[in-house]
Symmetry: C2
């Protein structure tokens, strides 16, 4: 891991600092070239099942870091604090969303045994797509990426099960192959697409009504391309109903200091 | 996963059947082309730490399957029984080896909550090396592969820590690059070597006295090449002293039905 390079640029620390100071927007496009991560934190007695769920479903749940019970500083971001450095958090009880907050300090006080999983985010490879001249429609429109529940079941683990969630980027038809080639190099941030084309085949009935994020901008000649999404654990929380969980709010990620090249294969 | 092909050949099931019926030798060279796996089983309350240890140390501990508490049939080998289908087992209490057995049925009776981890084994890629004309000295000599403790610390996880164990194959100097290239394609079975050449640099003082397995056969012009080894969890058991654990005996693996091509990248 190239921490020297990251420390030199300081873009990750600066982005986290602005979020800690109150910035609450989506993180797509922030600190380009650094790995962004989804958060799922569960009580210690659910941690084995969650880690196994991620291990068995590496496309939607590629783990980039695990913080042991009560830890809040990620090894991928020295000086970070998981409780304050994400723009928005969702709080879950028994599978139901009960609150959204921008500071999770109190949550860790009342649940000191939380085990936190950081899961690779496809925002990470967007800069690689842009470098190749592939348009990222939601970034150009200043929107959050659209995300959808699918009918594709994840492999269950212990008490945890659920369907895969995907993010969608409309890609000009002649650039689809290039987008596959580029993202395949990043297995730790979801890798190659799980589906190209007809949304109905994976159980998505209306592309204009995503389950998370904003409605897509689709240009004539674009093909919808779907990547496994780190919001999948939130669908698993809803389906599996652990007594308590904290996640990021969709589109609002934890920004690490890790250059995306670290995870290139 | 290509189970049809595996079911067609039946070589994995046949090998397991002969072991279940009493064969107790090393498994290197058996059922060529099928994935072989190391076993580490721990009580459920140590399972999260062990899974996290494996996740943090993917070179020595590449997980190919996890069996939930009490389960004994691997998804990679339908009809298998972990308690009888390995030629030899080691039984550990508080980090000390207390017994070696060839049938672990009673162990699972007294410890019904064991969580079992199957970890990729470098025997898997030996057939690929042989196909490329690279000699496997220990197979030619009918010996077990030599394995060594190193001074390279694994990344700890919770209560579990320990140094990496490596297997060594002497490779003719002109074929070292080819051996790296071939094994790099199999990250799920330890992948590329962790060290080439001087054993002292990784804390191995005497190549002729391995810590596990048999003494090496080294031919003039060979270079010692070291791969991360799935015996590493046994060194971690010794260093970390969980109250109880079961492992395979070094060199005596669990043979799956999974073609090694499944894990080729």
């Amino acid at each position: 891991m190239n921490r020297d390079l990251a420390g030199h640029s300081g873009a990750g620390a600066a982005a986290r600092q602005s979020i800690r100071a109150g910035a609450t927007g989506p993180t797509s496009g922030l600190a380009p070239g650094l790995v962004q991560a989804n958060l799922i934190a569960v009580p210690a007695d659910w941690a084995f099942d969650m880690l196994l769920f991620a291990q068995r479903n590496p496309k939607p749940c590629p783990i980039v870091d695990v913080l042991e019970p009560g830890q809040v500083e990620s090894a991928l971001a020295p000086g970070s604090d998981l409780r304050t450095d994400i723009p928005g958090y969702r709080v879950w009880e028994n599978g139901s969303l009960i609150d959204e907050v921008t500071d999770a300090t109190e949550i860790w006080q009342t649940h000191p045994d939380l085990v936190s999983f950081l899961i690779g985010c496809s925002f990470t490879f967007e800069s690689g797509l842009i470098d190749a001249g592939i348009p990222i429609r939601h970034q150009e429109a200043g929107r959050n990426v659209p995300m959808y529940r699918t009918s594709t079941a994840c492999r269950p683990a212990g008490k945890i099960s659920g369907d895969m969630v995907v993010s969608m980027r409309p890609i000009p038809a002649h650039q689809v192959a290039e987008a596959v080639r580029i993202t395949d190099r990043f297995p730790a941030v979801h890798g190659a697409p799980v589906h190209v084309g007809d949304p109905a085949q994976i159980g998505i009935s209306d592309l204009d009504s995503p389950d998370f994020g904003d409605a897509p901008v689709i240009v004539d000649g674009d093909i919808p391309v779907f990547w496994a999404c780190g919001v999948t654990p939130q669908a698993a929380v809803q389906a599996s109903a652990p007594p308590f969980a904290v996640t990021h709010s969709p589109g609002k990620m934890f920004i690490t200091d890790e250059p995306e090249d670290t995870f290139r294969r």
